[in-house]
Subunit: 409 residues, 2 copies
Amino acid sequence: VAASTAPEWAAEIIAVGSEMLTPIRYDTNSLFLTAHLNALGIEVVGKRIVGDDRERLADAITHALSAAQLVILTGGLGPTEDDVTRDAVCLALRITQHAHAGVLAAIEARFARLGRKMAPNNRRQAMVPEGAEIFENPNGTAPGLWIEKDGKVIVLLPGPPQEMRPMVEVSLLPRLRQILPPMFLATRRFRVARMPESELDALIAPVYTKYSNPATTVLAKAGDIEVQLRARASTREAAESLCDEVARPIEELLGNRIYSRNGDPLETAVGHLLRDRGETVAVAESCTGGLLGMRLTETPGSSAWFRGGYIVYHDDLKRQLIGEFHASPVSEEVAQRLAAAARERAGATWGVSITGWAGPDGEQPGLTWIGVAGADGVTAQRFQFFGERDRDRTLAAQTALDLLRLRLL
Amino acid sequence: VAASTAPEWAAEIIAVGSEMLTPIRYDTNSLFLTAHLNALGIEVVGKRIVGDDRERLADAITHALSAAQLVILTGGLGPTEDDVTRDAVCLALRITQHAHAGVLAAIEARFARLGRKMAPNNRRQAMVPEGAEIFENPNGTAPGLWIEKDGKVIVLLPGPPQEMRPMVEVSLLPRLRQILPPMFLATRRFRVARMPESELDALIAPVYTKYSNPATTVLAKAGDIEVQLRARASTREAAESLCDEVARPIEELLGNRIYSRNGDPLETAVGHLLRDRGETVAVAESCTGGLLGMRLTETPGSSAWFRGGYIVYHDDLKRQLIGEFHASPVSEEVAQRLAAAARERAGATWGVSITGWAGPDGEQPGLTWIGVAGADGVTAQRFQFFGERDRDRTLAAQTALDLLRLRLL
């Protein structure tokens, strides 16, 4: 399948707001924008954050326009003196702005609807640079603005994500499509548990590195990897076909290590397997302290498959559940007996147990036994994690879910 | 106390790497850098992200130098052709670079120590621009670089946080202190549970808005607020005194709603109260599915105060713990009986229960009863949360911890 992709447009994104120049806030709007721009074939070649400073912002806009056909600004459209984006754009483009009767009426109507009095400041938000098109903002007062000048496009969007995101989807993307060649995006998502990233990449890189379209991204966090494919083409069919060409061999290579093909997390995949079989699960957790139960109940509807369980942190509570034991609390025997007892006591189809030495203390930090009990018997496996408390607990819960999943397949 | 702060320097931070122009990665190095620069009295006036493109990056450096005395670049110091930061800096500053024997020897020694063969590419990392000072990198191959030109300072740091962060602390900050007036930072952190941000702010804003030094930041997430004060002065005593002037009235206003004065999370504060009294706790959780137990075991050493508990998700498991009940499973009676039974069955000083309708299904999404049982009796309180599953579960666990804390005071 040889479907050519359209030549890429270059975009710069400028997030406006002094709060994003502090140590605690960062710009997330640009990630959302980038995903949507990429889908249209627009490449983001630079991002910047500028404070609430008219001259610095005007300078940044001028500089960005020298490098990109499309410059998108988010934020700084509020009613206060601190909100300088409209002024800075007019300064950079050497254009004027005027109060816009329609925008002013919309702002006044919004305040009336909310039963609040409009402050005089809000009139600032009705200022519209000459020649600008207006994007309505059903979720706030400041409209978005689209300005074309000297073959470039400058877009102003409100900063609050709950205003910016709908405006992008409802107004910006359709407007961009009017001036861009047709472009369709097809995506695939595969999620895999418990494979080291390097091992997974060594397996599938020989497939995906042969292609730049679809673009492949491998995202890894503790015990969990997501492989994303994104193909672009001028028809939907061509884009889907490009994705399939890479997705099929990847699916073959990964086999049943893939737990999700739609982005669902592991607990949801396990829950759906249980639900489809009309089965239930109960847990007995020591070092994870409730994390496994918490994950199994993150998905709405989990009461259909999750019975509950036992947090057997202190050995006294282990004994209450399984009776006396002479082996180590972190042992095959105890893991098996905990899984079997959780299953039986809670009246579940399956019992899953986790017992380990959570770091940094304990006899052997990171050593963990995980048990799975079903009608066909009980098994337990030994894992040596890293001796890092948070990471080990995350890995233990993830591993327990995946061992149950494999038993359910 | 009138301690003047030194005039602020202006800095720009440039993060280099095409991966940070995708929809999935963002720059976090700049947050770390900003915190440390602010502490020295340096203001960050702009941040940008540039891809692995030599000309675009050189242009960004030139532009940043026009706006700031200090420009810090992170990333792009690796061994491959994609790593263009050194080249771009030389292009922007119109200086040359040369292989540096000392750096090359250090890189070779690192490979020898790791028992690996050095690839020819790594020789690129020994290139040093003329006049540059070298920051050693004990955690990687690329050294950091400090270049002074025309009264400006340009700093190049490696991108991986585990290399960048120690280099900032060990090399960059001491070097900056050499050229800056003396500056000391004093900080205070107060954490408060279960207060709406607007209510807390209405209470303390009349105090802190009178001061720009210390700067006050209020950080809110679900059911948890942190108030940070940061004062700068030319002596340590003056900085501490500035902090105290604002911290004392804030402490008085918030009283025992403050659960932590050192940044510790609520579960740790509760754990320390229990440990100091030689007491223990057990839990019975329904809608939170193990989240409360998970939080109580996040802190190392929790085995000293946490016994374990019961995940009574299905009503059958509630009955196993407390016997038959005819009230609603989400009721005062059931919450009280669950807390008392958890305490008694697990042999703990305290029992805490959570039972609620987790959204989006259930009779009354968000309705939650939380019980606390101790030697002096059992109480339960009713909460109507938002009917949003994740948020409600977080709030329920947070509230349960805070109710226990108040009983322990």
